[in-house]
């Protein structure tokens, strides 16, 4: 490529000054960028209004493209399910037969559970759904794992609300705009979710790794063994996530800190349910007199 001799500005004062100020502005841009960066690193929600303003424009476009992509993907899926239907039918019949006894037992247990809870007068809060919406996009080029939710302040979504999918916990709302919200996924490197093991209720922390999986770390005990396939659900500690929402399953056995796969795979998410934050537990009742 031939060199561009634009630095020879000739005798025109106007051209000399405009070239000079162009370079001054270029350096000033870098300085302003550094200042903005410092501000947003120390105060992450600082520019959320600007971000969500842009998201207000991109979310409708993204949702239209999302719908089109879904429609295109449903054609091969429909054809595939047509061919699989017979094999699936026999498999499902066998499964129903196998699980009938289990279902009866579960119904009995559920009934007992309801009765005993009523006896204890436990004040349980059921999480209220705020909005059901699609996750229409994500930050695919950045290392942070954010998703764009197609519902915002007009639909009642507020920052801090937990978001769950049909299979498990997705994350929580970080910023909201009028019609769009940004969701921090559980796989984000800065996401922490208090969880407990379903088998024995052992408390742990699910920390995002950034590569689509989470780390399960034990909190108050050392030398904890995790087995392959251990399931973890939210514990309700901290009052944000309702207890009992599935989070992740351990991938390979280990001690103290293991890798687990989240139940809600974000790429296969169809709809996400935004819930009201699970309130902090009511204050504990006054201590009972010691048992005789």
């Amino acid at each position: 490529m031939a060199p561009a001799r634009d630095r020879r500005t000739g005798f025109s004062r106007r051209r000399q000054y405009s070239t000079f100020f162009g370079y001054v502005l270029a350096v000033a841009g870098a300085v302003v960028g550094a200042a903005l960066l410092v501000a947003s690193v120390f105060n992450p929600p600082a520019f959320s209004a600007a971000r969500m303003g842009v998201a207000t424009l991109t979310a409708p476009v993204a949702s239209v493209i999302d719908t089109l992509a879904d429609a295109a993907a449903s054609v091969p899926a429909a054809i595939g399910s047509w061919f699989r239907v017979h094999g699936e039918n026999t498999a499902l019949r066998a499964e129903v037969k196998r699980s009938r006894a289990l279902l009866t037992a579960a119904r009995t247990i559920a009934y007992d559970n309801r009765r005993l809870r009523a006896l204890l007068a436990v004040r349980d809060r059921t999480p209220e759904a705020v909005a059901t919406a699609r996750l229409v996009g994500s930050t695919a080029s950045s290392g942070r794992r954010f998703a764009l939710l197609n519902a915002g302040r007009f639909q009642g979504v507020r920052p801090g609300m937990p978001v769950r999918g049909p299979n498990g916990l997705v994350g929580r709302v970080l910023e909201t705009g009028p019609i769009a919200a940004r969701v921090l996924l559980v796989t984000d490197p800065e996401s922490l979710v208090p969880v407990r093991r379903t088998r024995d209720g052992m408390p742990a922390i699910a920390a995002g790794r950034g590569d689509g999986r989470v780390d399960i770390r034990s909190v108050n005990a050392t030398n904890v063994r995790f087995a392959t396939g251990d399931m973890f659900v939210t514990s309700g500690t901290g009052g944000l996530y309702a207890p009992g929402v599935p989070v992740a399953q351990v991938e390979s056995a280990g001690a103290d800190s293991v890798v687990a796969i989240p139940y809600a795979a974000p790429d296969s998410l169809d709809f996400a349910l935004v819930e009201r934050p699970f309130m902090p537990m009511p204050p504990s009742p006054p201590a009972r007199p010691a048992a005789p």
């Binding site: 490529m1 060199p3 870098a30 960028g33 695919a140 942070r144 590569d211």
Partner: protein
């Protein structure tokens, strides 16, 4: 359009200068926004930074298409949609522009391979520093980051074709 090709249209009106000057800006903004509207909830950051690639291509292939200070406002828009902390692209893209300016003073005659090399360095710099700014050091994204850099570098020739095509459509008036 070269004079001795069959596509040569001597009386075709060129784009009005305002629109011709806006085209590079619009293309970079569009590439930044494309990352945001893609209907994929990705679990891995594999998507190449399309806005940055297009910006570097404009800078290296058609250096008068964008002002020397264009990196900062374009980076600001990219920050608003990309999920990085606001200011990281403003800073890094401006630094890339300044570095290319300094390289240009020393390396006046360049061919495409050198452009590609410069762009590769700039892409690797922006992605690596962007990861360092946005994520804690313990995050397990480094393998994916290398893959993302490779994908982005491999996209540069394609982006050069696109930019050359747009630049040709803009006409000589710009």
């Amino acid at each position: 359009m070269s004079r001795n090709s069959i596509d040569y249209r001597p009386f075709e009106p060129p784009l009005p200068p305002g629109r011709a000057r806006a085209l590079p800006w619009a293309s970079v903004l569009g590439a930044s926004a494309l990352t945001a509207v893609l209907p994929v909830v990705a679990s891995l950051p594999l998507m190449p930074p399309l806005g940055l690639i297009l910006l570097l291509t404009w800078r290296l292939l058609a250096r008068f298409a964008l002002r020397p200070w264009a990196a900062a406002p374009l980076g600001l828009f990219d920050d608003l949609v990309s999920g990085q902390p606001l200011g990281s692209a403003v800073l890094l893209w401006s630094l890339c522009f300044i570095a290319i300016e300094m390289i240009e003073q020393r390396l006046v005659f360049r061919d495409f391979w050198q452009d590609w090399l410069i762009a590769s360095g700039a892409i690797a710099f922006c992605l690596a520093i962007g990861r360092w700014i946005a994520l804690p050091l313990g995050a397990h994204v480094d393998t994916v980051l290398v893959a993302q850099i490779v994908i982005a570098v491999m996209l540069f020739p394609l982006s050069a074709r696109l930019v050359a095509w747009i630049d040709r459509k803009r006409g000589a008036a710009a």
